[in-house]
Each structure stands twice: as structure tokens, then as C-alpha cells.
């Protein structure tokens, strides 16, 4: 009985375990090792060389790429800029998603599923197509550009280019990641017991106080999970800055992509990937800690 139970447990958890070992653990290990190697002359990795005078085999491991990463401010600056964009995107997403999630959660039950379906509907079309659509919307010949530049002209200001700017990157980031903030927030808000707002009002809280003393603190877990779902992918995103950003709007993701596909410097790309992973882990730990410290009760 006990044996068969154990067997079933292994049979169920075995396949995903094997999958993760092959496609997550092994590549991660390869990446870690690669980051301590040197790039080859024509890309890839440098061959292991034998130093004859010492008759010892070089381990082939070096800290050079890490030294290189720290030697130039530009990389740290790109990291900081990526963090800044991810933070800003998260904050804008919270500000935009909150009223919408609140509206959906307070709608009659029969409309809620329809509204949620509308929120996730954009996922039905390809991510790149949606980002390219923004290229047209923000392009110099678009109606939006004409209207904005006309208004600026009336005000006596210089015309602006919307596309290929940090502004365009931010719009793309917010647009793509907004549903990931709305969904956890809605799931949280929908579970709030409306009697708590009645109780707060009954005990003297006006609408504003009802929100800040009851709804907002109870929705923090939803905000934290939404923030993790937005912040982490934005931090590593390369497609949106590639398509909508200018040459100066490069983020960590672009840097890593360039190392592998452009300059073919695998060790440095691996180093950057590890740095990004550490940053993401740090962000996750931070969000979890924040969630725990603010919400001690469930």
C-alpha cells in the first residue's frame, strides 16, 4: 500500500522533474560555467590550452568577464536604467489597474467574467504584432503624432518624435504587462467581504477612509503578486526596447541578446544573465519580504 503510494508520487512528479533537470538545471549550470570562461576568437568559447612550460592543464576558468562587467560604468548604468523602467512600469500599472480591477470586482457577477475576458483578449493576438502596432500608432506620420505636435506648435513648443524614445518603450511595457497587474488584483479585490466596508462606514469612516483603512491594506497581497508579475519580465524584456526604443534605450535584455546573437561573446552574455538572475531573485525576495511584513495576517 505504502509502496504503491510512493510509486504513484514518483510517477506523477517524475516527468516534470526530469524535464526541469534537462531544460533548466543543466542549462543554468552550463551558463554558470560559461561565464567563467573566455570567448573564442570567432565566437563561442576559447579552446582549453595546455601550458607546456608548467606542464599543467589550465582549468580554463577565469574571472575576466566579471572584471570587465565591473570595469565599465556603462553596464551598471544599463542595469540601473532597466530597474528604473521596471519600477516605473510597475507603478503605472498599479495606478491604471487598480480602478479597473475595483470596477470589475464591484460589477454584477454576470458581467465580471465578460470583463475579465476582455482584459485577456489581447493575448489572443501575437505579442510582437501588438508591439508593432504601437510602432504605427506612435510613428511620425500617425494621427497621434500629428495631433500632439500640432498642440505643441500652438503652444509654441518644439515638435517631438514619439517613436524610438524612452516614452515609447514605457508605453509598450505598460500596455503589454497591464493584464498581469489587473488579474491578481481583481482576484484579490473580488474576495473582499463587502460587510467590512459596511462595518467601517457604520463605525464612522467616510468613503476615503473606507478605501485607505480597509480596501487598500487588504489588497496589498494582490498588488505584490501583480508587481512581481510585471516587474520581473519587464526587467529582462528585450523585444519592446528593440522595436519601440531608440539607440539609447537599450536594457539588460538587449545587452544579453547582443552578446549571444551579435558580438557572439558567450561568457560575457552568461555573466550578464547571471547578474540579471541575481537581480530578479533579489526583487522576488524583496516583494515577498514586503508582503510578509505588511500583511502578517492572511
Amino acid at each position: 500500500m505504502q509502496l504503491s503510494n510512493r510509486l504513484i508520487k514518483w510517477l506523477i512528479s517524475g516527468p516534470p522533474l526530469v524535464f526541469l533537470l534537462i531544460f533548466f538545471v543543466a542549462p543554468s549550470l552550463i551558463m554558470i560555467v560559461t561565464s567563467f570562461r573566455l570567448p573564442g576568437e570567432f565566437g563561442g568559447l576559447a579552446p582549453l590550452t595546455i601550458f607546456s612550460e608548467h606542464t599543467s592543464i589550465d582549468s580554463g576558468l577565469t574571472l575576466e568577464t566579471y572584471q570587465f562587467f565591473l570595469s565599465d560604468w556603462i553596464y551598471l548604468e544599463i542595469f540601473l536604467k532597466s530597474f528604473f523602467i521596471a519600477t516605473l512600469t510597475t507603478i503605472i500599472c498599479i495606478a491604471m489597474a487598480y480602478p479597473l480591477a475595483l470596477l470589475i470586482a464591484n460589477s454584477p457577477r454576470k458581467f465580471r467574467n465578460l470583463m475579465i475576458m476582455l482584459v485577456v483578449l489581447p493575448f489572443a493576438s501575437n505579442f510582437l504584432i501588438r508591439v508593432y502596432a504601437w510602432m504605427i500608432i506612435l510613428g511620425p506620420e500617425s494621427t497621434l503624432s500629428h495631433v500632439i505636435n500640432h498642440i505643441l506648435g500652438v503652444l509654441g513648443l518644439e515638435p517631438v518624435t514619439l517613436l524610438f524614445s524612452p516614452f515609447a518603450v514605457l508605453i509598450g511595457m505598460v500596455y503589454v504587462h497591464l493584464p498581469f497587474m489587473i488579474l491578481p488584483l481583481y482576484t484579490n479585490l473580488e474576495k473582499h467581504d463587502p460587510i467590512l466596508l459596511d462595518a467601517a462606514q457604520d463605525l464612522g469612516a467616510n468613503r476615503w477612509q473606507q478605501f485607505w483603512c480597509v480596501t487598500w491594506p487588504l489588497s496589498l497581497p494582490g498588488i505584490f503578486s501583480g508587481s512581481a508579475l510585471v516587474f520581473i519580465p519587464v526587467l529582462g524584456m528585450f523585444a519592446i526596447p528593440d522595436i519601440l526604443g531608440g539607440t539609447g534605450d537599450i536594457m539588460i535584455g538587449n545587452l544579453i541578446k547582443d552578446q549571444f546573437l551579435g558580438t557572439r561573446d558567450w561568457p560575457f552574455g552568461s555573466t550578464l544573465s547571471i547578474m540579471l538572475t541575481i537581480a530578479v531573485l533579489g526583487a522576488t525576495v524583496f516583494f515577498t519580504w514586503l508582503a510578509r511584513s505588511v500583511m502578517r495576517s492572511p
Binding site: 467581504d193 457604520d202 463605525l203 483603512c213 491594506p217
Partner: protein
């Protein structure tokens, strides 16, 4: 002047009339109960007093001033909800201090009052706990403390003991009576449990289908119900089909099915030939053993059909005729004895003349 006056209040939900032309006066310091079956409109009436719902017609007056346009947060009333509605993200101290915080009291003043209140409801050592870490009775006490701390003119209680088990409910009832007496706050208490209403209240309003059937003290309502609904809803009562055969200034004479002619105290607006029911409480029915060999000269007789022993009392079901029963409740005052009669025993039934009531159909 009454503290609260409800004048001809009506509330409809679509075509359903939840509260139908209700008028009530509640005095300061009273423990007043709205009692009725579920759906009778008692909770709707409470929500209108609290301000969550506005009446479709009528007035609600506090100190003779209409408060219908005053929002709930501005009314000097607090509510204890059936589900307690404690804030899950606040500690016990945070919950209890909430009304003071909303009232704009200083942090020092809040802390001082909360500390005192926690001691009063014996929750001092739980002050840093969250609601989910408390037992049902403790949550209940936090809810009471939160409702009373800012000294409301009126505390509204919506079936607050409904979620507790019976033993706890009894001790909380005593605690509630003491709490009300100590705080001197007027209570309006909503419940469907008639024994709870009888035990707690100074006065009870019995509601049915949105209307008030009777408003009086517990003892008057129990002993002198004004109609069949009140008689049937409060406590247990025997109802036997009857017809009026004679009316005098002091008495009504009824022809009760299977019991024959019975005299009861007179009652206004009852005429000869009126049909209805005779009602009598089980504990007011006396039964005595009947010797089968002596003639039962004019006694009302029956046969023990069944009995229900529940420890302190035993209910005897006496068959008068086929399918016609009357219940009698006897206290088991003799130690070691479970029942006074066996199934099948012939018994004589009687009661004091003023114990029986007549309710016309």
C-alpha cells in the same frame, strides 16, 4: 421623548414589501428586540435605522429629528454584525480603536481608551492578536467592544450570537445583559431565536411579513399573545380547533373539538359562532392519573401516547381522539425519576381557567 421613533416606515424590494408601515418608539436605555422568522423584515428595519438602506416611506427620528438623510458614518449608532465583520488586517487593539481613529481622537487618547476597554472585556492579553487567531467567543467580545467604545447613542445588534454554540451563547447572553446595563447604551437587538429574545429584552417587537404583530415585555408577550402567530411563534403552544358558543362580560364559552365546552376569560371583539383555535401552553396543562374503575364524571380525559424525556423536563403527548393530541410539560422534580406516566395510561387533563386563549381565524 423617545430616543428613536420609527414612523410609518415602509421598504419595498421590487414588488416585495419587506417592511410594511411600521411604527415604533424606543426609549433611552432600553434593551429592545426585533423578533421574527427569517424574511420578516427585522434586518431590513435594522439596516434602515443604521442608515444602510433608505425607507421608501416614513420617518426615522432621533431625539425628534428626522435622520433619514444622515449617512451611516454620521449617525451616532454602531452595529454589531452577525459575522462580526472584524477587520482581518488589524489587531484586536486596532479593531477596537478603529471608531476612535475615525472620530479623529488623538493617538494617546485612543491608546488609553483601548487599554481600558480591553481590560473591561478581559481581552488585554489578546490585544496584539489578529481576528483569525481568536475563538468565536473572543471575536464576539471584540465586536461588542468595538461597537461600544465610542459611546454610541444606540447599539444595533444583528443576530450577534447566531454563530456561537449553545453553551457559549448562554454565557454570552448573560455577558450582554451586564454589558448593556453597565454601558447604559440603548440596544436594538435582532434575532429569530425566541428564547434569546425573552431572556435578554426589556421589550420585544414580534414581526411577521413586514408588520409588527405585538410590542410588549417578555412576560406579557409570552402569557398574553395577541394573536395566533405570536402565540405559535413564541414558545410552544397547543392549538385546538374551537367555536364560540356563548359570550358574557367575563367569559367566553367555547366548544373545543374532542374536549367539549370550555370556559375562558372574555376577549374583545369576539362574537358567538366565531371559529378559531383555543391555545394553551404545555407547561400550563396539568395531568393526573385516572383510575379506570371510577366514573370520570365530566373530566376531560386522554391517553398517554408518547413522551419525550430531555432531562430537566418531560413532554407528554396525550391523545384525545384519533390524530388529536395535546402536549403537557412536567418538570422532573423527583430525583431518579424519568417519567410519571407510562404509554397507554389514561389521564385527566385540566388547567387554570385564565391559562387558555381563543384566537379567531
Amino acid at each position: 421623548m423617545s430616543l428613536i421613533e420609527i414612523r410609518n416606515v415602509t421598504k419595498r424590494f421590487g414588488s416585495f414589501v419587506a417592511v410594511d408601515d411600521v411604527s415604533l418608539k424606543i426609549e433611552a436605555g432600553e434593551f429592545f428586540t426585533l423578533l421574527g422568522p427569517s424574511g420578516c423584515g427585522k434586518t431590513t428595519l435594522l439596516r434602515m435605522i443604521a442608515g444602510f438602506d433608505a425607507p421608501d416611506a416614513g420617518q426615522i427620528l432621533l431625539d425628534n429629528e428626522d435622520i433619514i438623510s444622515v449617512p451611516p458614518e454620521k449617525r451616532p449608532f454602531h452595529t454589531v454584525f452577525q459575522s462580526y465583520a472584524l477587520f482581518p488586517h488589524m489587531t484586536v487593539a486596532g479593531n477596537i480603536g478603529f471608531p476612535l481613529k475615525m472620530a479623529g481622537k488623538s493617538p494617546e487618547k485612543i491608546e488609553q481608551r483601548v487599554t481600558r476597554t480591553l481590560a473591561e472585556v478581559e481581552l488585554t492579553q489578546f490585544s496584539d492578536r489578529y481576528p483569525h487567531e481568536l475563538s468565536g467567543g473572543q471575536k464576539q467580545r471584540v465586536a461588542f467592544a468595538r461597537g461600544l467604545i465610542n459611546e454610541p447613542r444606540l447599539l444595533l445588534l444583528d443576530e450577534p450570537l447566531g454563530a456561537l454554540d449553545e453553551k457559549l451563547r448562554e454565557s454570552m447572553q448573560r455577558e450582554l445583559i451586564n454589558l448593556q446595563a453597565d454601558a447604559g447604551v440603548t440596544f436594538i437587538y435582532v434575532t429569530h431565536a425566541q428564547n434569546e429574545a425573552l431572556a435578554l429584552s426589556h421589550r420585544i417587537a414580534v414581526m411577521n411579513r413586514g408588520r409588527i404583530e405585538q410590542v410588549d415585555t417578555s412576560a406579557t408577550i409570552y402569557n398574553f399573545p395577541v394573536n395566533r402567530f405570536v402565540a405559535d411563534f413564541i414558545g410552544k403552544i397547543n392549538l385546538l380547533g374551537a367555536q364560540v358558543i356563548a359570550v358574557s362580560t367575563q367569559h367566553l364559552t367555547l366548544n373545543v373539538s374532542h374536549l367539549g365546552e370550555i370556559r375562558i376569560p372574555s376577549k374583545a371583539s369576539v362574537n358567538v359562532n366565531d371559529k378559531g383555535v383555543m391555545a394553551i401552553r404545555p407547561e400550563q396543562v396539568n395531568i393526573t392519573a385516572l383510575d379506570p374503575h371510577t366514573p370520570n364524571d365530566g373530566k376531560r380525559v386522554g391517553r398517554i401516547r408518547d413522551f419525550l424525556y430531555i432531562g430537566d423536563v418531560t413532554t407528554y403527548i396525550i391523545e384525545l381522539a384519533d390524530q388529536i393530541h395535546i402536549e403537557a410539560l412536567l418538570a422532573n422534580s423527583v430525583p431518579g425519576q424519568a417519567q410519571l406516566f407510562e404509554i397507554g395510561d389514561p389521564v385527566a387533563i385540566n388547567w387554570q381557567e385564565n391559562a387558555a386563549h381563543f384566537f379567531p381565524d
